[in-house]
Amino acid sequence: MNDIFYLAWRYISFNRFKTLTLVTCIALILFLPLALKMLLMKSEQQLMSRAVSTPLLLGARGNSLDLVMNSLYFADERPDSIKMQSVEDIYHSGMALPIPLYARFKSGDHPIVGTSLDYFDFRQLELSSGRLFAMLGECVIGAEVAERLGLSTGDKILSSPENLFDLAGVYPLKMTITGILKKSYSVDDKSVFVDLKTAWVIQGLGHGHQDVNTITDNETLLNRNKNSVTTSAKIKQYTEIDGNNLDSFHFHGNPSIYPLTAIIAVPTENKSATILRGRYLSSEQTEQLVRPQDVISDLLNTIFKMKSFIDAVVFIVALAMLLAICLVFSLSYRLRKNEINTIFHLGCSQGTVIQLIAAEISIILLFSAGLCALGLLALQHVQSGIVLRLFVS
């Protein structure tokens, strides 16, 4: 048997180009449907696991997919804002515990997520170093952010301006990193977490500036009377919050109307979830309460419908390729007619010739399967990134 495989090996290694072409073609036929299936399984697993662990999501009425993708995966598509008052409404209903989210700003490529400390317990995120944010202007970063940017506790990270051309807009805020999260293999690894109030400072709803009552510079102080002080934009505004200027930071207006992108509602029991959902069904409501699981299921159904179509295309292409390969083999054996006759003349039986050809095909199939497996392994290594890029960004 070893002699047969030796002869087959010698033949296919002599015809390298033909063998390589065949191996590549067969590997591709195997790889494409398996890779597609693997990516879809991974995406279903990734999207669903986070959706299932998020019972209810409250957001502005509109595109529920944008709401879910922004709140669960901090995707770029931002839903309309809702008011902070909704957090109190849910809390005082006694039916669910609200976790506010404000995922609007970025630091480079990384989303800045304004939330409450309860988010870390809810997602079971643990610190690998440092502590959670405690003061205004502090942040906690995901493991991948720390790795990619080479940051550690005590370092600073800057928020990115929303619009580069808005020269009169809010200054970027330099935040102090107080903790780094352990890897959770989710989008949390790529995010920067801040307290809601810090997110509102980034937006400009809260700010710190020099004391208006002590300004004497005429270029800065435009007008002062008993009830009012008017200053120019020259007034020194702080872009970093530290112990020296923390007391000067303040918020304006009614905090209950401050914006959020969503609220994760964790129902106290199943019955409460149903009652709570009923409250947001009216079309007059400006807010919607969705089950992320339902929204992601709809998305996956659409993807799976597309998968059936892609499967059909792959099947047809694979069939055409297989036929082409069969043709290559049959033409090859016709060309090798003299060689096979010589083998007969040397005293080999027809069975030996069949064994020789089967050994050649087996080696080619083995190499193809190996190449396909290598491709799948490589894909598995990068699939998390691909899935997030495909469905989230």
Binding site: V87, Y91, L97, P98, P100, S116, L117, D118, R131, L132, F133, A134, M135, L136, E138, A168, V170, T178, D195, K197, G204, L205, G206, H207, H209, V212, N213, K226, N227, S228, V229, T230, T231, S232, A233, I235, Q237, L246, D247, F249, H250, F251, H252, G253, P255
Partner: protein
């Protein structure tokens, strides 16, 4: 003791007998932002909770600046009792778990008194705005203090339903005491018949409103002798508001007392007890305050 209390007390006692047979829950960790809430929580919770007042005893808790370590300690608490009325100025600058915060004055949030000192400013971003607030010594209206104590009781009972009966048993006498103080001060307010009074510091807004005191405030510190400008402003105030008594947060220095006496103004202490006292407790301090205020009605200053 009213009818409701007569019904509740036996139930509470029966409940406490039952609860004493249940396995003990871990001691509740409760933080408070001022001494009145600390006292209410300690009185109601008894041995079932450790009550923390995180700031040093020598500062006004409303203007305390916590460190990150202090905030870290507060983050570990089971319950954080807030006064509301924008009392804790440090609160917007720190990160605390929302579910653990309880605003004890939320039942009467519409009755907060806006501060008169309100300077607006404008510096380009955000339009015209002001750093206004509300008066925050809410507990000096003792009907409000009783509501705050009730809110403390409810929050504790929600966290430890097992000890609800024990909490009711402690809460009812506290509520009684606060209501008695309220009645007593209402009588004093009526007896004063609108006699002009001066407050040494703008902390008596709720006391003034609840007990119909004709009180105007200056901005003096008990330990500091006022400067000439302050005395001039005081003399001007006396022309339109001829007060014979001045209420102080703490004992004023002797020089100030003497000069006030020369102007025909007597000094009495009405201690808001925002921070833990050197001696006594919240109730005894407030009872002494009420007694001193009542003494005005029976004595006429020279």
């Amino acid at each position: 003791m009213n009818l409701l209390q007569r019904i509740l007390l036996p139930i509470a006692m029966a409940g406490s007998l039952f609860s004493s047979q249940l396995p003990a829950a871990p001691t509740l960790q409760v933080a408070t932002v001022n001494y009145p809430l600390h006292y209410f929580a300690q009185t109601i919770a008894g041995p079932h909770a450790d009550i923390l007042l995180p700031m040093p005893a020598d500062i006004d808790p409303a203007y305390w600046s916590p460190t990150a370590e202090n905030v870290g300690q507060l983050q570990q608490m089971d319950l954080i009792l807030l006064n509301g009325a924008y009392y804790a100025k440090w609160l917007p600058k720190v990160s605390l778990p929302i579910f653990k915060l309880v605003n004890t004055s939320s039942d009467f949030r519409n009755a907060y008194i806006p501060l008169e000192e309100d300077v607006t400013h404008n510096h380009g971003s955000g339009g015209e705005h002001s750093h206004k607030g509300t008066a925050f010594t809410t507990w000096l209206d003792f009907s409000q203090a009783a509501l705050q104590a009730k809110s403390v009781y409810k929050a504790l009972a929600k966290k430890r339903p097992k000890y609800k009966a024990d909490f009711v048993k402690k809460f009812i006498p506290l509520q009684d005491a606060l209501q008695q103080l309220d009645s007593s001060l209402k009588q004093t307010g009526e007896a004063l018949q609108g006699a002009p009074l001066i407050g040494s510091h703008p902390v008596y807004q709720y006391l003034k409103r609840a007990y119909q005191l004709n009180l105007k405030s200056v901005h003096w510190e008990p330990g500091t002798f006022p400067d000439d400008q302050q005395w001039q402003a005081f003399a001007t105030l006396l022309q339109t508001h001829p007060a014979k008594w001045m209420l102080w947060e703490n004992h004023p220095n002797e020089k100030t007392v003497a000069k006030l006496q020369s102007l025909g103004v007597q000094s009495i202490v009405f201690n808001p007890a925002g921070n833990r006292p050197e001696s006594g407790d919240f109730l005894t301090i407030m009872q002494d305050n009420a007694q001193r205020l009542k003494s005005i009605t029976s004595s006429s200053p020279e």
